[in-house]
């Protein structure tokens, strides 16, 4: 049990430091940094004290705190994935418009030069 706690705690800290480093190098937009930072802050105490959620999970009828964490994690990751798909769709629409603008501008430039 102690070994497991060490493992989860180290993983949590590793993830937090990766996020910090990405933000520091300006590779990660602030909004995502905040999101993942919050996740880290919630997850690390749970990693160190897995029993923390036991009272809450018992209150809502989940057998153990660990299952509750797993369930919440899956839901959370799903929502994040959906958000990212949405974000990519929007970006594609934006780059599409830019590509069109570029093509139109170059065509017009050529027409002007040709005259």
């Amino acid at each position: 049990m102690v070994k497991l706690t060490i493992l989860t705690a180290i993983s949590g800290l590793a993830v937090l430091s990766i996020i910090f480093e990405l933000v520091r190098r300006r590779q990660l937009r602030e909004k995502y940094a905040i999101l993942w930072g919050l996740v880290g802050i919630v997850v690390i105490p749970l990693a160190i004290f897995p029993g923390l959620l036991n009272p809450l999970s018992r209150a809502i009828g989940v057998a153990s705190g660990v299952s509750l964490v797993l369930f919440l994690a899956v839901v959370f990751l799903l929502v994040v994935c959906i958000h990212l798909s949405w974000e990519v769709s929007r970006l594609e629409e934006e780059t599409r418009t830019l590509a069109e603008d570029l093509a139109l501008l170059r065509t017009e430039m050529r027409e002007r030069v040709g005259q």
Binding site: A99, E100, L102, A103, L104, R106, T107, E111
Partner: protein
Amino acid sequence: MINGKRVLIVIPAWNEQASVADVVREVRGELPGVGVLVVDDGSKDRTSDMARDAGATVARLPYNLGVGGAMRLGYRYGYEHDYDVVIQVDADGQHDPRYVPKLVDALDDADFVIGARFAGEGDYTVHGPRKWAMTMLSAALSRMNHAKLSDTTSGFRAANRRTIELFAFWYPVEYLGDTIEVLVRLVRNGYRLAQVPVTMRQRQAGTPSHSPVKSTVYLARAALIFALSMVRK
């Protein structure tokens, strides 16, 4: 000028260096006085050069967007240059420009006209799942349109100013969106659709973008796009 209207022919082309020049020359020969815009969709070959040498205006997209992406660019060009009519003609030589005046005339009573293969003229046939998809689509769209549309996937199409104004800003880029979703949106928004029977020729060079293997997938995707376009805003 055709029938007193300023007409722009938009030719979406992707790696069509072998046929695009002939298509441009034929269009310009048959239809003097129309604008010809080739939208080169990030081709890896000499499509742009061939089209330009043949006398077309060329707009080159920096990367491949698909037919829908190329066509929105074409409609935007038509919109910004005040054309009355924009007509899509494929770069592979399958569409005969001699039908163009007929399409333009049909725009007198419609906002969007399709050059249709199954409407009596010609002997174009397809088989299997692709055929089922096409049959169901044309049945559904004909009902919604209150007038027959027998070839919903034809790429030979004419748009009037009202439709150009829509397509310059909204034209789906997804696979099949450019054929199916476009028609559903037009019909749902009260645009009048009509068709003119045409004969299509064999592709002059290169390979068609759909292989027979893909035709079952085609059916599924066509159904999905159709269902989506019925509920999309």
